[in-house]
């Protein structure tokens, strides 16, 4: 009996040693090629996919904390490889790196202009399906080639990819662009009628400095890039979607001699679709709160009538931005506001019929816009620094 027990325990331990000694999928940190940004272009010669992966170079990144700008060398490494598909290119990178890419920390995917014009539908699948990719990865479109953007060494950040991520995540400061991640992109792709958009990014050469900035947003139809939206047009869309966080609204001052510059503190929107007599009307109500941040005229605007006029003017600006965006969308025949989906949710029976010719029906939509602006503060000045004119 005791012998049996001994044998039993022995075999049990052996099995446990084998079966439980760590998982085979483990990878040491030194062996990881941590990717923080990816760029997809079309290779000029063969037409295949050119994948650029920005990998963290731990030796450089770990040590000096950013001082010694020129001396320390780059903290990152842009590897590229060519393959017939994105997954293929990603595996082929092992010809150069000797290790599979570890994409869990990937912050951003930039698609080159040529790839975007051709259509992103076929490339998105990899990013959604891969185990390690996260749906929170941001998407951007480069105005030229993605590999150029990835090369632009930023001033205050160590990695171009992190810099770009920061640029997009802080969209709220101007509300001139919007943050789009994989999941949002996929949602728009899945909707037959809504257009997708993604931020554009360019590099501009300014003497020796390369500056990366976002000039607007790209709009897609069925995954193909068909146009661009300027900053104001983007904000027009964001007003309607209720996603405006902060930004600057410039209004001519009531006396015509200068400008009143307002900062958006808060903005809300309520959109109600309505089908009446065969016409589709969207009732849009925007409520915004502003603060008077700068005025260039000598007259004091911080008075009740002054505020009233400025508020009215601000409301006009909002309406202009929305209409500009709407006109542009009509021009491009794209439903960038998602009006189709809003109709779908409320009028599902009518939608079944309308869905198919939505592209034709869309330009006939009427917008009924009401803007309610309120100036809630005038920062730290009660009146501008100018001599008293007239009485106060």
């Amino acid at each position: 009996m005791i012998l049996y027990k001994k044998i039993y325990v022995f075999i049990l331990c052996f099995i446990m040693l084998v079966a439980l000694s760590g998982c085979l999928g483990g990878r040491e940190i030194n062996d990881l090629e941590i990717v923080i940004g990816m760029g997809i272009d079309k290779d000029k010669d063969t037409g295949d996919i050119l994948l650029t992966a920005q990998i963290v170079n731990e030796k450089e990144a770990g040590g000096a904390s950013g001082e010694g700008g020129g001396g320390g060398g780059k903290a990152y490494w842009n590897v590229n490889s060519i393959g017939k598909s994105i997954f293929d290119a990603a595996r082929q990178i092992t010809h150069k790196t000797g290790n599979r890419l570890f994409v869990s920390h990937n912050q951003v995917v930039i698609f080159g202009h040529d790839v975007a014009a051709e259509g992103l539908q076929k490339h998105i699948d990899f990013f959604l399906r891969a185990h390690e990719m996260r749906p929170t990865t941001l998407i951007l479109v480069a105005e030229g080639r993605a590999s150029d953007i990835m090369d632009a060494k930023p001033e205050t950040e160590r990695f171009p990819a992190m810099n770009i991520t920061k640029l997009v995540k802080t969209y709220g400061f101007t509300s001139h662009l919007y943050k789009v991640n994989m999941k949002d992109f996929a949602t728009c792709l899945m909707s037959g009628t809504s257009a997708t958009f993604a931020p554009l990014v360019t590099v501009s050469q300014d003497r020796e400095n390369k500056d990366v900035f976002v000039p607007g947003m790209a709009v897609f139809k069925n995954g193909k890039m068909v146009g661009k939206l300027s900053h104001d047009e983007v904000r027009g869309v964001l007003w309607v979607l209720g996603k405006v966080e902060s930004g600057v609204v410039i209004v001519p001052s009531p006396d015509g001699k200068g400008k009143a510059v307002l900062e958006i503190v808060n903005a809300k929107s309520k959109v109600k679709p309505e089908i009446k007599d065969g016409r589709i009307i969207f009732h849009i109500k925007i409520e915004e709160e502003l603060s008077l941040s700068e005025q260039t005229t000598r007259e004091n605007l911080a008075t009740v009538p002054g505020f009233g006029k400025v508020q009215e003017a601000a409301g006009k600006v909002v309406r202009q931005e929305i209409m500009a965006a709407f006109e542009r969308s009509k021009e491009l025949r794209l439903d960038i506001f998602g009006f189709g989906e809003m109709l779908h949710k409320k009028y599902k029976n009518e939608w079944k019929i309308m869905e198919h010719n939505w592209d034709d029906i869309y330009p006939t939509i009427e917008l009924d816009i009401h803007v309610d602006s309120r100036i809630v503060s005038n920062d730290l000045l009660r009146r501008p620094a100018s001599p008293d004119e007239g009485g106060e």
Binding site: A19, L20, C23, L24, G25, S104, L128, H131, R134, P135, T136, K183, A186, T187, M190, S191, H344, K345, K346, K348
Partner: protein, 368 residues
Amino acid sequence: MGTDKGKINGRQLLFMFAGFIQGSALLIDFTVGITEHQTWMVILAGLIVTIPFILSYAALAKRFPGNDLVRINDMVYGRFIGKALSLYYIFFLSMTLSFNILDVGELYVNFLMPDTPFFFLLSVFAAVIAYAVYKGIEALAKVSHLFVATSLFVIITTSVLLADQMDFSRFLPLFELPFIKLLQGIHIMSIIPFGETIAFLMIMEHMNDTKGPARYSFFGVLVGAASLLIVSVRNTAVLGRTQTIWTSPSFQSIRLIDIGTVLTRMDFLIGIAQTMLIFFKCSIFLYALTTALSQLFGLKSYKPLVLPVVGIEVIIAATVFQSPVDHAEITQNAGIIYSAPLIYLFPPLTLLIAKIRGLPKTERSRGK
């Protein structure tokens, strides 16, 4: 009297029911492909449809105290038909157990440890549940409340952390899908999570509560169903349309948690909670299966059967389906159809016949 001398009390039964149903959270993820944004409705409907049947299980247990399903079948239907019926149940239990073991394997292979050989994972897991079952039902009952508490914590925390990404207009339009899809969804929802609690008929005999298991099973099921509902609502509100394309919507919605660059990459939470729950569910099934087998053959104890049965189950789990597509297609069609009579037809029938024949004769003095 059953071969396991352990006793469980009412509150433990409640937690066991709740944990059991919560364990199916990832299983119902695949119904999203069928019912899309109306999954929450289907969960509610499934609950309402199955509650009477679950109560009938409890009624059976109360009527025949200290007897489990196999014995009850023998008593009500006679030795031959009773044993045939029990065999049908045993087949169901063994198939379902193998599906659940397979699901744990798939969870790990797809999301958590993609390179580890499948078979090893299954075997290790099987060894653990074998050990748990060996220790007896009382051991399982005593830890059940821990599992339920942990998974509730995970579900609620993830839902709260995702609150800013939720958009409740994604539930509209409300009644878009054709009824046949909803029907299939309700059928699936009613059998998996809720109907499978029939396994508890092998356990309820150990209760030391004289009031009967009905109220505990009812509330346990409610807690479990509420958890499933929260998960489904969270997934639909966060993912919207894209819900239908992911293999596991729950996973992807948790991956979206991104707060202050610190609270990111929380998928491990779901790994922990789900592993615990499926472990629990499998242990219950294994216990039910081995006790049923031992009763069928009139053995004194279920314990020697645990290991060989688990060995068979692992092989079945590894070979029963050829691909995930196969898995989905079979469980959504043939799987729920063959198990339907076991859940909808036989328990109430057994109850009815027992009532008519005035069984069990020892307890009640009215005869026929």
